[in-house]
């Protein structure tokens, strides 16, 4: 774990409140594995008590890429960061996704939950299918980037039907699971997104006796396991998302 002062190389809005933030962080980029996160000290939040945690969209060539949505005070303040500024980033933090998969990897992302799945898809060998869901086509992110990753098929869903299947991303997911099962093929599930999606994917992993890897994102305080604020109930009790997660095995999670 490092607390690095990182130069902002790119800070680019891509519409609908989503932004890419690319920083120069050679040591961290080399160490990060998909599913881990970084804890960002937002410069304009000096009176604030907390950093903001972000999953990692990519870590390559000495750069760490974050894809984020402006949702509150912290991310709104982060918007003001300019290219060339330096920001403090603590990381790599937490336990990531496994980087091998037996059978087809089904990556299920809701909204900006696709961010760590992009990094994962780049590192996972073998066949992958990305299921990306969002409210509208504006919430389907980085589709062009996923298209560049070899052996990766895309299946999309939007609540308003503007792109892909109309409804939740579990629609195309369930079709694919049924097809794979009919062919007797193995698969594993990897997901990041809103809690409803995480729970739905957990259910499908358990129902099909397939490994499921769930990214549990919580508001965090320390990010390193010191404060016990970001709790997820698991078979081991009250587990800390920041250090025992954020990636949990589906079979270990207890949803309330």
């Amino acid at each position: 774990m490092l607390d690095e002062k990182c130069k902002v190389l790119v800070h680019q809005e891509i519409g609908s409140g989503y932004r890419y933030l690319i920083v120069e962080a050679p040591k961290m980029a080399a160490e990060l594995v998909p599913g881990q996160f970084v804890h960002v000290k937002v410069p304009a939040l000096e009176m604030s008590a907390l950093r903001r945690p972000f999953s990692v969209f990519d870590a390559t060539d000495g750069m760490v890429v974050i894809l984020y949505k402006t949702v509150g005070r912290g991310t709104a303040a982060l918007n003001g960061v300019q290219e060339g500024d330096e920001i403090n980033i603590l990381g790599p933090l937490g336990h990531g996704f496994p980087t091998e998969c037996s059978g087809t990897a089904l990556l299920v992302g809701g909204g900006f939950g696709v961010a760590p799945l992009h990094f994962l898809a780049k590192r996972l060998p073998g066949k992958k299918i990305l299921f990306a869901g969002g409210r509208t086509q504006n919430d389907l992110l980085a589709i062009d980037r996923f298209q560049l990753i070899p052996n990766t098929e895309l299946k999309l869903a939007t609540n308003d039907g503007s792109v892909g299947a109309k409804g939740f991303v579990t629609l195309p997911l369930d079709e694919t699971i049924a097809e794979l099962k009919a062919k007797g093929e193995k698969f594993e599930l990897f997901t990041c997104g809103p809690d409803g999606l995480l729970k739905a994917v957990t259910d499908r992993a358990l129902a099909n006796d397939a490994p499921g890897w769930i990214s549990c994102d919580r508001h965090m305080v320390c990010g390193v396991g010191a404060c016990y604020a970001c709790i997820q109930k698991t078979v081991r009790g009250n587990s800390r998302c920041c250090i025992e997660g954020p990636i949990f095995a589906a079979k270990d999670l207890i949803w309330e």
Binding site: K41, C227, Y228, I231
Partner: protein, 302 residues
């Protein structure tokens, strides 16, 4: 060369800086981000006789200038702490450890203190956690009960014994005296200030426990005042904490009467705070002609 050594009620510290309990896990979590050589001790998260699950989520809310939390003292029990946590800490960190203890009864306090004797380097008794009904706070809100629980722990241990006091009392003096009479070696203050945050859209408390404890920058002047009051009432050394965000904040505590200080909530945004406080403290002593940080204690000109 400024002498940074202090003696906190029998605990020899190479620097007068430790970590506030609950903000630094069990001591190893910040390896890589904190310069441990600038710490005179690490204060671990609260420990009781048996494991404790803590409060439901959400457990915290960020507020302007601070943080409200109601973690609820989730923690491993003393057995795991002694068998696993402390050996792991000793293997990785060469800084004395202060264990923070709490219990649901006087007997539990004494039991955990006895079990940690010979294991850690000092004990800090939490009698002031605002977030757990059975543990802590009730013992710190009545000087007579406080005297009883501290006396019981005193009999159970030979370790340097620090008692952490609650800030929300009309006068700190009777509590200081109760600890003194019971044989405490040092005092620490302040714990968090009871607080509440409401979501006006849902009309519900933000924290599942409804209320919590306020820490961070905003509580610093209140803490300085209580350290000043306590120092005027006792010769016991004081470990001061509450809203240290820069060296200046720590120096205020020393001038008000502290022998040592703890950084807490600031670590969450800035793990470098430990080094910043150390460097700033040394620079201040050099600039003002103090040969030792011990000379700062109570050096207020008032």
């Amino acid at each position: 060369m400024i002498d940074t050594k202090v003696n906190l009620g029998g605990l020899e510290m190479a620097t007068p800086i430790t970590t506030a309990s609950g903000t630094f896990g069990y001591g190893t979590e910040y390896i890589g981000a904190v310069d441990y050589s600038k710490l005179g001790a690490v204060t671990a998260k609260g420990i009781r006789v048996s494991p404790w699950p803590g409060n439901p989520m959400p457990r915290h809310a960020e507020v302007y200038g601070g943080l409200v939390n109601a973690i609820g003292l989730q923690g491993t029990g003393v057995e795991h702490f002694v068998d696993v946590t402390v050996p792991w800490y000793r293997q990785n960190v060469k800084v004395p450890m202060i264990a923070n203890i709490w219990g649901g009864s006087i007997e539990e306090y004494a039991e955990v203190a006895a079990k940690l004797t010979g294991v850690v380097d000092a004990l800090e008794m939490n009698v002031s956690c605002p977030n757990v009904k059975a543990g802590g706070h009730t013992f710190g809100q009545d000087p007579k009960v406080l005297n009883e629980v501290v006396s019981a722990v005193r009999k159970a241990t030979t370790l340097p014994l620090i008692v952490k006091l609650a800030p929300n009392v009309p006068s700190i003096v009777p509590y200081v005296k109760a600890c003194e009479d019971a044989g405490a070696d040092a005092l620490s203050l302040i714990n968090t200030i009871p607080a509440m945050v409401i979501d006006i859209e849902t009309r519900k408390p933000v924290i599942a426990n409804k209320t919590g404890g306020l820490s961070g920058r905003g509580i610093h002047p209140a803490a300085v005042k209580l350290v000043y009051d306590a120092h005027n009432a006792t010769k016991l050394p004081i470990l001061a904490m509450g809203g240290i965000y820069e060296a200046k904040d720590a120096i205020e505590f020393f001038l008000a009467g502290a022998t040592a200080v703890a950084v807490g909530t600031a670590t969450f945004t800035n793990p470098g705070i430990v080094s910043e406080v150390y460097d700033g403290l040394v620079a201040y002593c050099e600039r003002k002609g103090f040969a030792s940080v011990r000379d700062l204690t109570g050096a207020l000109d008032a």
